[in-house]
Symmetry: C2
Subunit: 385 residues, 2 copies
């Protein structure tokens, strides 16, 4: 029998950002002692950690030392020193998710290849070791435009991705290993969060749908459940579970995917942690994604993943033209609407497009939630006055 | 416009117990800065507070100093120095709930008289300034047994209450001011939580029902919604709102009541804070009671109070015969059941009947939730090994 609860067990968390902060709420609920490592002394998760250490997540010795101090190590961000995780696992330390997943995910070319090798449908692609090779392929016509160019490493939140429509754009691309992916015409961008525990229990959440702005190419709403056929939803969940199994992943895996015009599901990419597309679960799910991640890495029984209500999540990003001390304009207006909960991340300064929080809208009727979400989106502005 | 969010606003909280801890989760969600005062250096709420101060909640100067340091003061326990709150209000400080509610509640005789003066139905009662007066009334036959004896002050969690069946029991009663209350034969013990903001907005939660052990006189389950007629429920909520208005209360007020054999509602007593009977709201309500308390005292719009699912709460109390380092026996067994969330309070030592946590069981079908709750109750034991 495991004695996590109110015992001397210590959980280490690499990264003290917003995801770490929300994960820490759940450690409080279970009274699990934590040590958090983050480079910033203003890390949002600093407050609810039993112990907070300032340090570089990419530094081998810093990560190694933290890992040796705890009973179990996890992370809330992929940009951590994988070699240190590898060494810790070698020393018999539990590290969930494993460095092996991280290794396959940090390099998007390796990730794409992994999907192909495991019979996981993904859009057709070619890998290039250098920018030069990629340019040559375009110039020779081996690759026909338009094409999706992706940097193999370092991409995050849409950075490191371009849709290349003409050869003129080539000069704007950075150096380095990259992938060329066929442009897939898709109906929907979907995501499924899968939890898997060391003993191999697997549970997936309902499919969520990203709704884009009608003209700007930007996700505006994350809706749960996705407004798609039950058959397509079942296929998407099954496939996401297959991906989790293929990685022999432990913890949460957020699986982003495309629904093509002819209802094929293609895996886009994965994130081995709680994910923006699962924030709705705090209000709407029987078990929220953060509690589920804890249950998974602690090898506790996984919780029920179904929803209590329909839910929509709206990200709160800094408005363009505003840099400085943050104000959440009209936050009181949106709090008047039924089922609306703002989550303020506690960053003191706003910058254009900086993720400053999110708002969840719940309603038993998803269409009604969508209507309220529209009003939320129109009202609240993250600005600096 | 108010700028609580991510600003320099400081909320003071008297008491850092389990209620304070759950309240602090919500301050994190809104990024509200907190200063918590508690006599214990092991206070459960210590971790999530921005600043923690060790100190006596009954000491005038300690409470005064804390109040002067913050912008708004609230409490999670009634046993605080009321004179200090009074002085702070005089100095123009916002103190919610007001000392005026606390003054009327701390003395149960004053509380009963308040109900009577405001036309709030409550069981018939008589007040006695001393034990001697009470004894004389019993001996003279002015009071006929059986009768409920209540200490006017200091009672908590059933302490300070006795059902007096014979004169022999008189000698066991402590000295001091007391109340004799008629024994009301009731069908159900109910509770309603009401939120009220400074601007006078009022919202009540659905009626909850306490289900007692069939033989032992002990609450085993708190069920929401109560299994009562809609009409009775509407009457109970209306009455609870009237009580909140009568106190001109700001913040949460938990109103405990009896449903008599002929469906009358009698107010038993009130608590001016988040309450055990509202713990179910964390999982089941559109707005949980802790977020609602914050919304109320900050004069923000109150949140929707309806439930997303049926819910049952089971308290985790220390087993008899067990004192020492705590173990939650079979906690993993109950976590296998759908919709079951344990809340471990983080007290390191268990004692017989000590409140060590609670478990929430949610299900869209309350009868099904009740069935699962029965299995939870049978399995989990708070012991020391």
């Amino acid at each position: 029998m495991v004695h996590y609860f109110s015992s001397n067990f210590k959980l280490g968390i690499l990264g003290g950002g917003q995801l770490g902060k929300m994960l820490l709420y759940e450690t409080r609920k279970f009274d699990i002692s934590t040590v958090v490592l983050d480079p910033s002394p203003q890390a949002p998760a600093k407050l609810a950690a039993n112990t907070f250490r300032e340090g570089d997540l990419m530094d081998y010795n810093t990560v190694l030392a933290l890992g040796r101090e705890v009973d179990l190590l996890t992370f809330e961000i992929e940009a951590v020193n994988v070699e240190a995780l590898k060494q810790l696992e070698k020393e018999g330390k539990k590290v969930y998710p494993s460095y092996q997943t991280l290794e396959k995910i940090q390099d998007k070319a390796v990730q794409k290849q992994f999907f192909e090798d495991h019979g996981i449908p993904t859009s057709p692609f070619k890998i290039f070791s250098t920018k030069k090779e990629f340019e040559a392929a375009v110039e020779k016509g081996d690759i026909s435009l338009p094409i999706v160019w992706k940097s193999a490493t370092g991409g995050y939140d849409g950075r490191g991705v371009s849709i290349l429509k003409s050869q003129d754009q080539l000069k704007e691309l950075p150096e380095g290993k990259c992938i060329a992916e066929n442009l897939v015409p898709f109906k929907n961008e979907l995501a499924v969060i899968v939890a898997r525990s060391p003993k191999g229990e697997v549970k997936s959440y309902p499919v969520v749908e990203m709704e884009f702005h009608p003209t700007a190419n930007q996700v505006e709403y994350v809706l749960c459940p996705a407004r798609i056929d039950d058959e397509v939803a079942a296929k998407a969940r099954k496939l996401a579970e297959k991906v989790s199994q293929a990685f022999e992943h432990v913890g949460l895996l957020a699986v982003e995917m495309f629904q093509t015009k002819d209802d094929e599901i293609l895996i886009n990419e994965v994130a081995p942690r709680p994910h923006n597309s699962g924030h709705y679960s705090i209000e709407a799910s029987y078990t929220n994604q953060f509690e589920q991640h804890l249950r998974a890495i602690l090898d506790l029984p996984l919780g029920e993943t179904k929803s209590k209500t329909g839910a929509i999540m709206v990200n709160l990003a800094g408005e363009e033209g505003h840099t400085g001390p943050v104000t959440y304009k009209n936050i009181e207006e949106i709090m008047k609407l039924p089922g609306v909960t703002p989550h303020v991340y506690g960053k003191k300064e706003t910058r254009p497009f900086r993720k400053m929080g999110h708002v969840t809208i719940i309603h038993e009727d998803l269409a009604k939630a969508r209507e309220i979400a529209g009003r939320v989106k129109e009202s609240i502005k993250v600005i600096s006055e």
